[in-house]
């Protein structure tokens, strides 16, 4: 009995240590477990969610048959003309790419990796974070990786043609799906350039301006010359991001000023994204071609 009572504190201590170790292990493994569970869940639901979007697309295609033949013929003509123009541009770009690589070689500069656009469809979106994130139906199997830039086609700043504009970055990637953090999300950080002012900054953070997502461009030099409507593009500083992709325009903040001084060190400005986050259905992901 006496021996039992002598053992008790030790056993209790061991049990407590065991519980503590298990709790610690649980906390340490939480991140990995969560990642694995997220990948499994996304890939498990992928075929069903894909089926829904496929059905919707086939209905949309069938609806085309309701249009009259003349309208469809005109549309085909227009598409053929666009196709011919784009093909010639692609040929021209391939030549320029070769020339660029040769010039870089002569100057002993490292050759920049090319980006390959991967087309994807939005398969799941949460009303609780409608502006902040969504899930697309392409993943590792298509060459995507975390941090890749996601773009969507919009009318160019002068309204003459369609150009790609930044939507956000890939936050996590499973085999067949990927979760996108948009520019409106706290999790998305993007290095940007303002060619008119000749400066660069970091797009980060969230916030709404008159009900529309308006992230901040931080760490801009303290210069009072920023004006509303100034165009913002990706800087291409990071290897993950192609340069010169349109991001949006600077706009006046709640106080009326375009840029506000922060800690007497840098200026911060609000950005109105080029993308309308309300209705994104198809996107392209710029992924490194040789991964």
């Amino acid at each position: 009995m006496q021996s039992g009572s002598r053992m008790s504190p030790g056993m209790v201590g061991m049990a407590l240590l065991g519980v503590l170790a298990l709790a610690l292990l649980g906390v340490m493994a939480y991140g990995s477990l969560r990642r694995v569970a997220a990948r499994l869940s996304c890939d498990f639901y992928y075929p069903y969610l894909r089926l829904v979007s496929k059905t919707e697309s086939s209905f949309a295609s069938e609806a085309l048959m309701l249009r009259d033949k003349l309208t469809l013929a005109k549309a085909v003509d227009r598409l053929q003309a666009d196709n011919a123009e784009l093909s010639s541009k692609v040929t021209q770009l391939a030549l320029l790419e070769k020339e660029n690589a040769r010039l870089r070689e002569l100057l002993a500069m490292p050759v920049r990796g090319a980006f390959k656009p991967v087309y994807a469809e939005v398969i799941a979106r949460d009303p609780a974070s409608w502006y902040e994130r969504f899930t697309i139906g392409k993943g590792q199997a298509d060459g995507l990786a975390e941090g890749d830039l996601v773009v969507c086609s919009v009318l160019s700043p002068d309204g003459s043609k369609f150009v790609p504009a930044a939507v956000g970055r890939l936050k996590s990637v499973s085999r067949h799906t990927a979760s996108v953090s948009t520019l409106a999300s706290d999790e998305c950080k993007l290095s940007v350039a303002l060619p008119d002012s000749g400066v660069a900054g970091l797009l980060q953070g969230s916030g709404l301006l008159a009900g529309v997502p308006a992230p901040s461009v931080k760490f801009l030099p303290l210069r009072p010359a920023y004006r509303a409507g100034e165009l913002v593009f990706t800087s291409g500083v990071s290897d993950m991001t192609p340069p010169s992709i349109w991001v949006g325009r600077l706009c006046a903040g709640p106080g009326g000023a375009v840029a506000e001084e922060r800690d007497h060190i840098y200026a911060e400005a609000r950005l109105l994204p080029a993308i309308d986050f309300e209705s994104i259905r198809f996107v392209s992901v710029f992924t490194r071609a040789k991964r």
Partner: protein, 173 residues
């Protein structure tokens, strides 16, 4: 085996239905409704499974930063037990009350934490409540409707029924 397949199928269909409707911007708490139904009809084991499986599915597929759905759905399972033990479960009309409460329990905390508001958290909270109010009306009609529909299926499969849960409890005790 049939029991497990039945619980899995209901949880999966509820999660898939909610995911598909979410993608169109329609927020209806199918998983919370299924969790409430399964807890009352088949017990806390079935409700708990639905809470964990359905909640994890929603959080992971929608890429939520804060995986809060599982604990919130477990709260729903607890409330379903409370409903079974303290209130009448036969009256379908009376079911509108927990049905209306479900979106506020499972949706408002998630939506409030997931959305980025900058500094304006109070307008954000009010916005969530207004969205949840719409979902609440739909959910108040959906819970009794789904209880009737799934009871019809459960009867064919000889499963425990929602409408007989109170009688079963009285018999057991």
């Amino acid at each position: 085996m049939t029991w497990a397949a039945y619980v899995f199928a209901l949880s999966f269909l509820a999660a898939l239905g909610e995911l598909v409707l979410d993608s169109y911007g329609v927020s209806l708490p199918f998983v919370a409704i299924a969790c409430f139904y399964l807890t009352v009809a088949l017990g806390i084991g079935a409700g708990g499974f639905c809470a964990v499986f359905g909640g994890a599915s929603l959080d992971f597929v929608l890429g939520r930063e804060h995986p809060l759905s599982v604990p919130l759905l477990l709260v729903v399972a607890g409330l379903a037990l409370l409903w079974l033990y303290k209130f009448e479960s036969k009256s379908m009309l009376f079911l509108c009350v927990p049905g209306a409460a479900l979106p506020f329990i499972v949706w408002v905390p998630v939506a409030f934490l997931e959305r980025s508001y900058g500094s304006g958290w109070l307008p954000g909270l009010l916005l969530q409540f207004s969205d949840a109010a719409v979902a609440s009306v739909c959910s108040a009609l959906l819970l009794p409707g789904m209880a009737l529909l799934v009871d019809g299926l459960g009867q064919r499969l000889e499963m425990g029924l929602f409408t007989e849960a109170k009688d079963r409890l009285a018999r057991d005790t």
